[in-house]
Subunit: 322 residues, 2 copies
């Protein structure tokens, strides 16, 4: 699988991106870096680009104003058939805008969405939308449910994935106008295995194979989950370090804490898929280190191998009649 990687995306670019790309290439993935002339890629192929999109750039403007940026060039490589998937740890909005402009939407798709696997105790839950659409309508959320189901079936090998709608109560009528109307549409759609609403308190324990939300709510939930895990472990470390007995105990539980942290670390998952486009794009965390970048590239290669875009294209037009 040929993966195009934005060497200038993210807080730790280009250093950690190149090291992550090398790690993925060592697995046999055909990685090409996109970045400025003269970049030391440690022998990986380089497509030279002349522009950079910054994290703070306005997405749509930046994508149009900087057509030869490393991010846009990666996405175009997929659109042109030169690569099977694009990966960037850069500006998420720009990745979405570049995808819409150059890859374009799959037929029938109203809005692309970001799908992220949440490392729940009962097995991964796919959260869609994790932030592509800050404002969404009920019919968009129904499509997110279908996209998440395809992701869960094709990449996580789940048979008839259970779908739940993230809301503020398990009862059907609990929620805001958006979720109440979405609930009704999901309930009526017998092509989905819809099991009702789910509450956010159970997200880390595991509430469903696919968790559906608008992009604002999904993004709030994802960042709160990640931030709370990191903060709680930091606070625990601090409390443990406050006494000699605690310090000794801390040494003894270190392997256990490490196992848990590894399972919960977003870097282990590596990235999020942008679904609903005619090409495959993976977005890594802005603060990705080499491991996270390598995992995002593996995720992209895996999605290409499993032909996720083709599966969505085959199934969405028949499934999405809203």
């Amino acid at each position: 699988m040929r993966v195009a990687v934005d060497a200038l995306g993210g807080d730790n670019a280009p250093g950690e991106v190149i090291l992550g790309a090398l790690e993925a290439a060592a697995d046999g993935i055909d990685v090409t870096l996109f970045g400025p002339r003269g970049l030391d890629t440690h022998g990986l192929p380089l497509v030279e680009t002349t522009e950079v999109i910054a994290m703070a750039d306005k997405p749509a403007e930046a994508v149009r104003a900087k057509p030869d940026s490393s991010l846009v060039a990666c996405v175009r490589a997929v659109a042109d058939g030169a690569a099977d998937a694009a990966v960037s740890a850069g500006n998420t909005g720009a990745m979405l805008a570049a995808g819409l402009l150059h890859m374009r939407r799959l037929p029938g798709v109203l809005r692309p969405a970001i799908a992220v696997p949440i490392p729940a105790r009962q097995g991964p839950s796919v959260l869609v939308d994790a932030g592509a659409n800050a404002d969404a309508r009920p019919e968009h959320l129904v499509q997110f449910a279908h996209m998440g189901s395809v992701f869960s079936e094709e990449l996580l090998n789940v048979h008839r994935p259970e779908v739940r709608l993230l809301s503020i109560g398990e009862e059907d009528e609990k929620g805001n106008q958006l979720t109440i109307e979405t609930h009704r549409l999901l309930r009526e759609d017998d092509r989905l295995n819809f099991a009702g609403n789910a509450e956010s308190r159970d997200l880390l324990r595991g509430i469903a194979d696919v968790v559906v939300a608008d992009g604002f709510t999904g993004n709030i939930a994802l960042k709160l989950l990640e931030g709370t895990i990191a903060e709680l472990l930091a606070e625990l470390r601090q409390e443990i370090g406050a006494t000699p007995m605690g310090k000794l105990g801390g040494l003894l539980i270190r392997p256990a804490a490490r196992r848990l942290r590894k399972r919960l670390d977003p870097d282990t998952y590596g990235g999020a898929y942008l679904l609903g486009l005619r090409g495959l794009a993976v977005i890594a965390h802005g603060n990705s280190g080499r491991t996270a970048v390598a995992n995002a590239i593996r995720l992209a290669a895996r999605g290409a191998e499993h032909r996720v875009v083709e599966r969505l294209a085959e199934r969405l037009p028949e499934r999405v009649r809203v």
Copy 2:
């Protein structure tokens, strides 16, 4: 301070509610229980009621259909001047509906809101609205900012509390239609100490004295925070218990873990204020045990002592011109 307590509210009623009420009464708070004739209150005064509102009852309907329920009777006692504050661990929606019907809104208040202190590392943050208004408009959120500021000033002794809007990016223009418009209004309101947007990832670390959200987003955030803390500590316990060395370490870090858990336990905070009404109402968690009930009663007494309703009444009409 005279606090009216719904003896039949919550999953552990009446047993734990009565024990919690006794604990608060031992502090010198004048507690009256509301519940059925013959209830063993261990000597606390009882106002006899004949009906019960269940957790699953539809709030507005239940409040009208069961005027002599323990929950409604508590709220009415405050409205009639027989008590200074009402406490229930029962149906939150019913508490809100009873408050609107019997206490009524303060002049100028568009929507009451639920204010919850979040135990952030940098000191408590008041989250408003934590769930009273699933659908809200920008002008409602501006009022929530004012209510949260009064809470923070009067009850947490914060001078010029910093207010932030919960959104999906720190930049001014990041968010959905609701937060973008709300941001503009908050920015223009020079009676508030508004510091911009905040991201959910930092909620537990501490992002502001007052965190403003619509009730849907606020409720998702609060439950996700609580659920993630509980789940993560449970998973850590499980990992630690998986090896003999881990078990020994677990014993040694127990005091540290207990300190942390105590600080983060919602029961330590006890409850949430329903703000914007002409009387004081405190809602405790549905699963409250005796300690949580006692703390909710203490919170109610404290709010009455600090004359929170009077302060809101004095300050909201001049402050809320939206």
